[in-house]
Amino acid sequence: MNVIVIGAGLAGLTAAICAAEGGAHVTIVAPQYSERAQSVMAMGGINAALDTKGEADSVEEHFKDTMRSGCYINDEAAVRRLADDAPALVEWLAGSCGVNFTRTESGQIDLRYFGGQKKARTAFAGARTGKQLMTGLIATCRRYESDGSIERLTGNSLLSLIVTDERKCAGVVLCNNVTDEITSIQADAVVLCTGGANGIYGKTTGSVMNDGSATGLALEAGAGLANLEMIQYHPTTVDFGDKRLLITEAARGEGGRLYTMRNGERWYFMEEWYPERGALMPRDVVSRSIYKVCNMMGLGIDGKNQVFLDITMMSDEIIRTRLDEVLDTCTSYINIDPHSEPIPVYPGIHYFMGGISTDMRHRTGIESLYAAGECSCQYHGANRLGGNSTLGAVHGGMMAARTILEEVSEGMSQSAADKALADAAARRAQWNARTDKDLCSVSRAEVLKKTASVMNSAMGIYRDGVRLNAALAELVEIEDKLDGLSLNTSYSDRQRLGAMLLLARASVMSALARKESRGAHQRVDFPETDDSRYRRSTIVTSDGGRNLRVDI
């Protein structure tokens, strides 16, 4: 059986390894090697009710915490399976992939506390859990690469999904990122593990590789997208260059305080508003509070969108040993010494709970097409728990592979792939024949910048119908302007841009359709949660072209 995995991060590698273990031949397609995947940036850990700390933790509690955090629009059956499987998955990562988890003195996998969960449930590997998980999975994947059961096609991006008239995915058309050369591969199953939609928002805490184009292409091909309005803002990020650099939650966990200046004095607003947990309230609450201070009360530091995160009360030893990453980010990128100066922070986009809609077996709306990891939607609902992203990615990859091994039958005909390649080549020939008069006056960079600005102003921490409608109109205008015209860019970049714009429009439509406030989606014009109408997912589908519809 031939399986194609698009994406080489946590979800992609797990899917590839599990499929190869079951006897499939796997091709991993990615723009860069696994070491560059956004997964390596994950710091915190991976949740599993291993209960090595004797707190009587259980999979039931993990399930409940995940559902509560997701405001009950996550897939209950999928979350139950996630919590049930988590302990065995972490044992697999440790015992079969050689991940260097931090251990207790007695040799058990150590666990720590994470936001939104009362039990210590987060397994971790020093300060860089994501990197350690990836190193383990890469070394495991290499075993299958050596015997040829896993192949890598690095340097390529998805150009389109091959979908037969029977709505069955039969492979992919790819484009080489440098030569712009088009190829197609026929497959019995395809798994999308392409990460979040960072590209349509410009500055996020994640990798620039995760542009969201594959999700847009899945929408175009007929897969539904769910809960695109659910975006997690990490409360403490620092603005730098083309990015928002993350200041880990551990800075507050170790005692860091948030304040702004009011009437010439420090005002610890989180401690005043939430005396019990202060700055350690869940991420969405902290983000909304900082937003209120800056935008509704006009009390941002220096009149800007920023408040101070203060860790100056901590000893040098704590800062150096437990917050070395914070120290490094501050001193090298923003020239601030956190020993003696407060860190200016503001919420930044960190994670997309929404994405390609899948069931608990990670099937999408298209037969033989599966999705896992941040590009997919099932586990996190309206808000994700820290430590559940890495778990969701690994679990999703495993589930997708298992489902494929169980239900996909071999013997895909080559004809669909041949036809798709011929079609793609014809469109490409058309593109090559373009003349200057077909050229659009704007550049790709300008389109992306404009799109990001529209998305950030409408899809912020608080949304309202007026701004969302205006954004929708602006996005349609951008698409119309580009329609039929070429950009002065590579063919693959142009195709990806179209898919990203479609995803952007679908996201705004989702936010408009959910006329309530829930978790990460806060509407000032609909401030209440409305369980009777909206305790379910928004689903965007396309008619096979650019017409989108949203259902809830």
């Binding site: 015992g95 050689g98 590997a125 960079a445």
Partner: protein
């Protein structure tokens, strides 16, 4: 500020140097400068500067290149800290150029495969700091760029292979596979290293490579450690 970049359309083209004037923000990284230039190149309808870029936070190793003669990660290199008004940027010299600053580092990954550096279906655990640190290697290639012993196609594979050996050997039971990994380490790392330790100076993860090398040697080279049971990390 003058930015001088060594460019090359594709692997078979001649390389040339192109100069740009940069007048954007001062405390920015080389990645920010390249992005700044690319926006302008793209607006002018010219070919953007090709390079690898992903996390922009020093965590993934994509943007390894040579800036002012030093092998660095571009996203961790600040132009106002280089002490010059002319910033020279060129691709890593020990890997084939694909285009501009984009190089083909696939040999790093192929070498790991040939050295049988993978996990067994059941692996042991190691809680040593060395083992932990070794797993942090970014496979960026900066150490090989600085290394006086490494040359493309040579049998010596340098620190990336040493790091993977350190992470995997202690977790693997004694037997054929472990012997093979140890033998490959002796041939492909130990035998070729003249201990200049230039690698430690340029490692973007600040890995203590001198100490780690001695740990790796203890594991795979010196039989005496095996006799006294000290070959476990």
């Amino acid at each position: 500020m003058i930015i001088r970049i060594k460019r090359q359309a594709d692997s078979s083209s001649e390389s040339y140097c192109q100069e740009f004037v940069y007048d954007g923000e001062k405390h920015v990284t080389v990645v920010n400068v390249i992005e700044w230039l690319n926006i302008r190149l793209s607006s002018a309808g010219l070919a953007e500067i090709a390079y690898d870029n992903s996390c922009q936070h020093g965590l993934c190793g994509a943007c390894a290149m040579v800036v002012c003669s030093r092998p660095v990660l571009a996203c961790r290199t600040f132009i106002d800290e280089l002490g010059t008004d002319t910033v020279e940027i060129r691709p890593l010299g020990k890997f084939p150029v694909i285009s501009d600053l984009l190089v083909d580092r696939s040999e790093l990954h192929e070498a790991m495969k040939r050295a049988e550096l993978w996990t067994e279906k059941t692996t042991g655990t190691s809680v040593s700091a060395t083992c932990n640190n070794s797993a942090l290697c970014l496979m960026c290639g900066l150490c090989l760029e600085a290394c006086p012993n490494y040359a493309p196609g040579d049998i010596f594979k340098g620190m990336p292979e040493a790091m993977a050996s350190l992470n995997l050997i202690p977790k693997t039971c004694r037997g054929e596979h472990r012997d093979a990994m140890e033998k490959n380490y002796r041939k492909q790392v130990f035998a070729g290293c003249t201990k200049s330790m230039a690698c430690e100076k340029v490692c973007p993860m600040n890995l203590p490579l001198v100490t780690m090398m001695s740990d790796a040697n203890r594991l795979s080279v010196w039989k005496i450690w095996k006799l006294i049971g000290g070959d476990r990390l």
